[in-house]
């Protein structure tokens, strides 16, 4: 059985909560997506199947709504609200991202629902929190990530270029991760106490605590990190870590060699590639390979030998990168024990043999159009309660009859 089998989630469709609903649904919860009869705006988001727009053709909607069932209700309609309330009376979780006072005005907020279903776990995901009127501003993933920290730390050494927002709705993803952690935490608590509760997730707060050093450098020592190309923002400039390989693709060279075994492996590799003769600094790699005692990185810039050995490690790696392709560089470095990464595009990662071997390509049948579509697999799976995409995203009102006893 799936880990959330038997748990029913009512999700009021919104682009900000769709991912949380998907994570719960793929872990086996019976997630019922509630949309207005005209369809949720998420159905209009590109890309589309064969680039033809249509409310059943959004790949964005497909991805974020796997394993869910779908019904249509108008929250402003009193009759529909009665049906929604009936569903909520026996549901385990309500997941929503409505304007902050809307559900209270409609008589279906936690205060109203707890009376009929004290076990209900009501999760509200809003831009700045449920008690903050600013949450009703028309924010987007971009504007939220700008004001909540991630953007300040991302971009280029050249600060005349704008800072950069990482792509892919990651601001919403971060909030949804916290929503799912909250649901499990509340379910565990309910298992003991029998009591549900209201959970207030702030999207802005979620990104604010997902900026690593930017926050704690300010909190602890009131210093401000500055963005740098392809590497950590820092209070002081650090060395480049991004390089273009012989095939034009980029790699992240990670932390340069700093242990004797690493210098030795690098030297061997230069020899195999017949690059040693054109690299006079190889003598320093030899020194590094035979180093006795601790190789004290804090003496870089003070001790000439340590400085030269460390620099030779970095330069040796760069020479190899300029000579071979990115995939060979990545695998070669990793075999030498160096944590180096190739900069893949998403589809290059998806087609990589490692991820295929880990089952990251999952076929999902789209019976309605007679196609089987490959989806990304599990972020993690419980062997005793496996993750599974149980069905494609619902068509608009597809389960109205089954759940509400009415047609779409």
């Amino acid at each position: 059985m799936s880990v959330l089998q038997g748990i029913r989630v009512i999700e009021l469709a919104h682009e900000r909560t769709a991912f949380a609903g998907k994570l719960l649904a793929d872990m086996g919860a019976d997630v019922i997506l509630v949309e207005p009869p005209t369809g949720s705006p998420g159905r209009l988001l590109p890309p589309f199947v064969d680039d033809q727009p249509g409310i059943e053709r959004s790949l964005h909607f497909w991805h974020y709504n796997t394993s869910k069932r779908g019904i249509t209700l108008m929250l402003d309609d009193a009759g529909d609200r009665v049906q929604l309330k009936d569903l909520l009376a026996s549901a385990d979780v309500l997941l929503e991202s409505e304007p902050v006072t809307r559900l209270a005005n409609l008589g279906i907020d936690y205060a109203d629902l707890a009376g009929i279903n004290p076990r209900l776990i009501h999760v509200a995901v809003t831009p700045f929190g449920r008690s903050e009127p600013l949450s009703d501003l028309p924010e987007t993933d971009l504007t939220l990530m700008a004001s909540s920290g991630p953007v300040w730390s991302c971009g280029y050494d050249d600060h005349s270029l704008p800072p950069v927002r990482g792509w892919g709705f990651q601001g919403y993803h971060t909030a949804c991760h916290f929503a799912v952690m909250s649901v499990f935490t509340a379910l565990l608590g309910r298992g003991v106490s029998g009591q549900g509760q209201f959970i207030d997730v702030s999207i802005s707060a979620a990104s604010n605590v997902t900026t690593e050093g930017a926050s704690y450098t300010w909190l602890v020592e009131q210093n401000t990190v500055q963005r740098q190309t392809g590497r950590h923002a820092s209070t002081r400039p650090t060395g480049d870590t991004q390089m273009r390989c012989a095939d034009g693709r980029w790699v992240n060279t990670g932390v340069p060699p700093r242990f004797p075994a690493e210098f030795a492996k690098l030297l061997d590799w230069l020899r195999v590639l017949q690059l040693e003769d054109g690299f006079p600094e190889a003598v320093f790699l030899e020194l590094g390979a035979n180093w006795e005692g601790p190789f004290d990185l804090s003496r870089i810039g003070i001790d000439d030998t340590i400085t030269a050995v460390f620099a030779a490690g970095r330069e040796g790696l760069q020479l190899i990168a300029r000579t071979i392709g990115a995939q060979d560089f990545f695998e070669g470095c990793q075999r030498a024990g160096l944590a180096v990464g190739i900069i893949n595009s998403p589809e290059e990662a998806f087609e990589n043999h490692h991820f295929k071997a880990r089952g990251m390509q999952v076929p999902v049948v789209h019976d309605d159009i007679g196609r089987t579509v490959i989806y990304p697999g599990a972020p993690f799976s419980l062997p005793k309660a496996p993750w599974r995409i149980s069905r494609r995203a619902p068509k608009l009102g597809e389960h109205n009859r089954e759940i509400l006893g009415k047609e779409a």
Binding site: H60, E132, A339, N344, P346, E347, L382
Partner: protein, 408 residues
């Protein structure tokens, strides 16, 4: 009411951020998280332990600001697992724990004699959650990662860039944070499965799997439409798959001052154009024209925003209900922006050596069993005697002997 995770005990080998971030959540919700560290290397496997930032002039293994940030509310003990006596103590500790967590490279715990099979002998319903870059199974299972490498390999670095520039990537370890969130979900899901069935299990979490799944719509565009992100120029400040325009980050008055602006629809654009009051806006009345001419539209907007103070412009556009967000610096979002402070996002914890320090809190609030963060990270071995006497019944004399023998 008891805290949601009260009564759960975690035998915690995690460190850095990808692991420690996961168990930080558990501790905030009342789980007893016992960090186990190596006394010989003074816990230095976690490189953050003694690293900057620092609260004052003092330096040392107990004074790292990042370590404190990620390990609030946990207990800390030391065990020298090269000794048989320490291995016996660990076995007894596992016997009274619900979960064993670690984010070592694959195989480290096995080397110490604590394979999953062995742990299950000690406690049949033990939950074991390992978190490493490429997982314990698969062609790259021996490969090493840290946050930026995970981001590079999985596609997240490639998609964070400006057109014509190299990848900007993420200026922090987004995937150490996020790997930690998935690890927390995995632990909680396994605890929930155990609450319902009594079964334990081993979850082999790979940060790169989780990262790959964060590219969902792009992967479906690939598998359905055959279009990869490699084939087109990346501009991640623009909207996902060109759904909105304008959609970008623009300069304001001052050095390195920026604002994000987006228009979801024609109505929002009309409001903005009316407010700008310049002739060029007339060229961009339809979404189609704005999307097509973004390269011309963005410089016009840039010239206009450049005459504004960023916070004044934000206020003006918020009043017009146009999506907007200042690119806030750490000081601005932590100390100036009232929404984070009002949410209680920066609690002050009391650290035994550092004193009172502000840390990242949790971006959620529970109505009945909310998180609490009051205690700073444990100093090295701070709770060894307390934990071993309370849980395993060691006497003061025995503990003194074990200390003298170098077991603790």
């Amino acid at each position: 009411m008891a805290q949601a995770l009260a009564g759960y005990r975690i035998c915690d080998f995690t460190g850095q951020l990808a692991g420690a971030g996961a168990t930080k959540w558990l501790a905030a919700f009342g789980a007893e998280v016992i960090r186990i560290e190596d006394p010989v290397r003074q816990g230095r496997w976690d490189i953050l332990r003694g690293n900057p930032p620092y609260i004052d002039e003092r330096r040392g293994i107990d004074l790292g600001g990042a370590f404190n940030n990620h390990n609030t509310d946990k207990l800390g003990i030391t065990l020298n697992l090269k000794t048989d006596k320490a291995k016996d103590i660990l076995a007894r500790l596992i016997a009274v724990s619900d979960v064993v967590t670690e984010n070592f490279a694959a195989g480290v715990l096995v080397k110490w004699g604590f394979s999953y099979a062995r742990m299950r002998e000690i406690r049949p319903d033990i939950i074991y959650v390992s978190n490493c870059g490429f997982g314990h199974v698969g062609p790259y299972s021996e490969f090493k990662t840290w946050g930026p490498i995970v981001q590079a390999v999985s596609g997240l670095t490639h998609t964070s860039a400006l057109t014509g520039q190299p990848p900007a990537g993420w200026g922090y370890s987004y995937m150490d944070h996020t790997g930690g969130y998935y690890m927390a979900m995995a632990i909680l899901a396994a605890l929930y499965h155990k609450q319902r069935t009594g079964e334990g299990q081993w979850i082999d979490l790979a940060c790169t799997d989780a990262a790959l799944t964060l590219n969902g719509p792009a992967l479906l565009d690939w598998t359905v439409n055959g279009r990869g992100q490699r084939d087109k120029p990346v501009h991640s400040n623009r909207s996902q798959f060109n759904a909105m325009a304008p959609h970008g980050i623009y300069p304001c008055i001052g050095e390195d001052e920026w604002i994000a602006i987006a228009c979801r629809d024609d109505a929002q654009w009309q409001s903005l154009a009316t407010f700008i009051k310049q002739d060029w806006t007339a060229r961009y009345e339809t979404l189609e024209s704005r999307l097509k001419e973004q390269d011309a539209l963005d410089p016009c907007l840039t010239r206009w925003t450049g005459t504004w103070n960023k916070f004044e412009l934000e206020e003006a556009l918020r009043a017009l209900r146009i999506p907007v967000g200042v690119v806030q610096k750490p000081a601005e979002r932590i100390d100036r922006d009232p929404t984070t402070g009002n949410f209680g996002l920066w609690p002050v914890v009391e650290h035994s050596a550092m004193g009172a320090v502000r840390v990242d809190g949790q971006p959620v609030h529970f109505s009945h069993t909310d998180w609490q963060s009051t205690r700073g990270a444990p100093c090295l071995s701070e709770h060894t005697e307390e934990v071993l006497s309370r849980l395993l019944g060691f006497s003061n004399e025995e503990l003194k002997t074990l200390r003298a023998e170098g077991v603790l």
